[in-house]
């Protein structure tokens, strides 16, 4: 056992690689696979315009899905086909929970991503469940609050109605009081007094008219007499007659006035009596009227109170009416017309968009590239290390051939084997999926550029390795790292952006993408040619770095001090 342990300890580089590199991988994987953001998929969204759709998007956005808004589902779906998005979600126009025809959500997704759809649905469901619960709680709370308010308002209404009833009772009492008061108003004394007064008045009027007539007659007579007298200027003779006449007229007048005076006195007496009587009646009437006025006043007060009470009652009733209206409004505001609106607010559909265009199982490109990379990364370094550790290497170092020729020769050998593997892969593809031959040139090219890149990586692995076991360990480690930094194990979208940036240069990832695009999505040769440029540049860089590590270390005049000159 000791010699084996010693062997391990003596091969420090290999031991360090074997022990530390896995730790490095663990470190990278540990950083890359931070499971807090394991669902950061790129999702295209179409039809976000309503509050409900925004709510659902926020439900998945908060779980680190990368959300990209798209104008229409055609573009969105095309990007899913091109693997730019993992899925596309289309919301119905005017999306709204529980509204038939507006509550559908459609997932456009590659069949291999149905699990992703389930995940998103789960997120939606969780959100909707929470929303339903919240909605239920909200509704119940609103109901309870409304009922409480209704109760409170009903209590206020009841009080108002009670107050109205009390006001009405008071009004009734007041009206009764008014009725009683009005009943107490005595109008009977007024009738005889008034009749007598009228009679007396008429009598007095007639008497007065008669007296006045008589007086007027007498006065006329006097006036005639006086006129006669005045005409006496010319005749004395007539004076006595006339004076007599005047005397007689005056006597008549006096008599008449005396008669009239008597009459008037009598009348006045009668009037006086009547007035006394009337005064008495009026006094009585005044008392009665005073009593009536009091009663009227009482009745007025009672009626006023009744009016106030009725007004108050009316207001209370109006308040009660308002309360009832409020209750009706509150009940209307609940807008819970259908319990299913809470239980089943959306309808989801899944549109598997690649069913028609997919010619292969989705994993085939990944497996094919994996096989190709294994071939290149295990065989090419083996060839390089064999050449480097071969006894013949010493003599080849002294040959005048430039380093790049040997490196290119090694690369070509590794590439030939890798391409042979690629052809076998294509043959298998053709055998089991002959329809793939439609896109044969593109598939072959994808395999070719993958082989070119992996062989270059294998070349570099061999160039930096001192032994075959070291090359083997490095090769396995490289494959492991490339697997982690690709979407073979988990989608690349699950790693942080910084790691994604690095991973985008991963030949395994790029190659897998290329082969997937040409085999599954039917991408054309020309499109692939354009996209493959970075991978080809990577391959060239790897080749150049390999050349640096593989350059001959033969001592020349220029490289040694003191001078060493040698002609080969």
């Amino acid at each position: 056992m000791k010699q084996h342990i010693t062997l391990l300890t003596r091969k420090k580089t290999v031991l360090a690689l074997a022990l530390l590199a896995p730790l490095l991988i663990l470190l990278i994987a540990g950083i890359a696979y931070d499971n807090t953001n394991v669902y950061t998929f790129r999702i295209g969204i179409v039809g976000v315009g309503t509050e409900n759709s925004l709510q659902l998007i926020s439900a998945i956005n908060s779980t680190n899905f990368t959300i990209v808004m798209e104008q229409n589902s055609t573009d969105c779906t095309r990007k899913v086909v091109a693997s730019d998005y993992h899925a596309c979600i289309t919301f119905a126009d005017g999306f709204e929970y529980g509204v038939t025809g507006k509550n559908s959500v459609t997932f456009h997704v590659d069949p291999s991503r149905t699990q992703l759809v389930n995940t998103i649905k789960e997120k939606f469901r969780d959100y909707i469940s929470v929303q339903s619960q919240q909605q239920s709680f909200g509704k119940a709370a609103t109901l309870l609050s409304t009922i409480k308010d209704i109760k409170s308002e009903a209590e206020s209404g009841s009080k108002s109605v009670g107050d109205s009833v009390a006001s009405n009772d008071n009004s009734i009492s007041s009206v009764k009081d008014a009725q009683t008061a009005l009943g107490n108003v005595d109008t009977s004394p007024v009738v005889p007094g008034a009749g007598m007064i009228i009679t007396h008045k008429d009598s007095l009027d007639a008497q007065a008219k008669k007296t006045i007539g008589n007086t007027i007659t007498q006065l006329n007579s006097v006036q005639s007499t006086i006129s006669v007298i005045l005409q006496l200027d010319n005749s004395q003779t007539n004076i006595t007659s006339h004076s007599l006449k005047i005397q007689s007229a005056i006597t008549n007048l006096t008599s008449q006035l005396s008669v009239d005076s008597n009459v008037t006195n009598a009348t006045l007496l009668k009037i006086n009596d009547t007035v006394s009587s009337l005064s008495s009646e009026l006094s009585k009437l005044s008392d009665t009227l005073k009593k009536s006025s009091d009663e009227k006043s009482k009745a007025g007060t009672a009626l006023s109170m009744a009016i106030q009470n009725l007004d108050s009652g009316g207001k209370n009733l109006q308040a009660a009416k308002n309360f009832i209206k409020n209750i009706i409004d509150r009940a209307d505001s609940l807008s819970i017309t259908d319990a299913s609106q809470i239980a089943l607010p959306i309808i989801t559909n899944t549109d598997e968009i690649n069913v028609q265009s997919s010619k292969l199982p989705y994993t085939f490109p990944t497996l094919a590239i994996l096989v190709l990379s294994l071939t290149a990364l295990l065989i090419t370094p083996a060839i390089v290390v064999y050449d480097k550790t071969s006894p013949a290497h010493i003599r080849e170092m002294l040959s005048p051939q430039p380093s790049w020729k040997n490196v290119f020769s090694l690369y070509t050998a590794g590439l030939l084997i890798t391409l042979l593997e690629a052809i076998l892969i294509f043959a298998i593809l053709y055998l089991f999926h002959s329809q793939s031959a439609d896109n044969g040139p593109a598939i072959l090219f994808a395999l070719f550029i993958s082989g070119v890149a992996f062989t270059a990586l294998g070349l570099l692995t061999g160039a930096v390795s001192k032994s075959e076991e070291m090359a083997l360990i490095i090769g396995i480690l490289l494959i492991t790292v490339m697997l982690i930094l690709s979407d073979v194990i988990l989608p690349l979208a699950t790693v942080p952006q910084s790691v994604q940036d690095v991973a985008s240069y991963n030949p395994l990832y790029q190659s897998t993408q290329f082969l997937r695009k040409v085999t599954i999505h039917g991408q054309s040769f020309s499109e692939l040619l354009e996209q493959s440029l970075p991978l080809l540049i990577t391959a060239v860089l790897l080749f150049l770095i390999s050349m640096f590590f593989s350059s001959k270390k033969v001592v020349s005049v220029a490289s040694t001090k003191p001078a060493f000159s040698r002609k080969v």
């Binding site: 006894p391 013949a392 003599r395 002294l398 033969v554 001592v555 040698r566 002609k567 080969v568």
Partner: protein
Amino acid sequence: MVIVGSVEGYISSALGRMPRADLEQVLLRSGWPKSIVQKYLRQEPNVLEKSDGILAISNLTKSFNKKKVLTNVNLVVNKKDLIGVVGVTGSGKTTLLHIIAGILPPSGGTVHTHSSIGIAPQQPALHEHLTARENLEHYADQFNVNNKGRVLELLKLVKLFDDHDTRVEDFSSGMKKRLDIACAIIHEPELLILDEPLADIDPLARQYLWDLLKKINASGTTILLTSHLVDELSAHCSRIAVLKGGQLLDFGPVDDLSNVYTSHYEVRLQVKNILSASVILQKISKDLFTNHFDKDGVTIITTQKPLSLAQSIISISEHDNFVINLLSVQHPTLSEVFEEVVK
């Protein structure tokens, strides 16, 4: 100091035996004019331009992680030399060859060569899954050899023509060594470096390989090879370099080295009781020997006076009644001397 031949040749030879700084001191003490010493030693050696030198190494030092593998190695190789580098494992032979070939950079010092180099490393630099012909064609392509006949020529040279379509993995060690050499000279290099070409092959194959190397050497290719087999190196090489602990102990023609290292005698003594040898050595006059050591149960005593020493041993043995099983006098072999030297 008497200089035989050119000054450059002497300095070149002397630099192969000692560091430049030491040689400078030796020359100055010997009365060389300072201007001459400075001319030839203070400047970078240009022996390659003025003599038949093909490779000049001066004060070469190489360290791996602060551990010195080579220290102040000075060596000059002339055209058509067949030089053997001897040293134990870890003495720095392969490192020296790799630095010469340019596979490793030196930590210090200079290596000058303007020659094309072919190398056959210790483990044949062949593609095992290819046939002999394919390997040769591969290296012909690598070294831009357009002569189609060269492959067949070499297959015949290394006697693998009949096996040209056999995969190397099915070859014996000797066949691989031969093919490896053929591949190393595919581009007709002026300097051929061979690292332990004689290892892991049987004596017959070794002999064949020596014949092959001599043919190549005779065609004008300078050969620098390493080996543990000092006897064979001394038998076939024109000059031998001795490395010990990264230092060049000596470098020169085999005869010169033999004169230096094998001029003394070795008296070999084996007595019945091994403890008796110690008693004899204690009683022998110290003037009669310079060194002694035990090897395979035989006590080897080095001396410049072998007869006097042998007589003394015999007389002591007779006096003390020791039974002598073996008593011989001989010059040591170069191999034996180097074996002791490089330990």
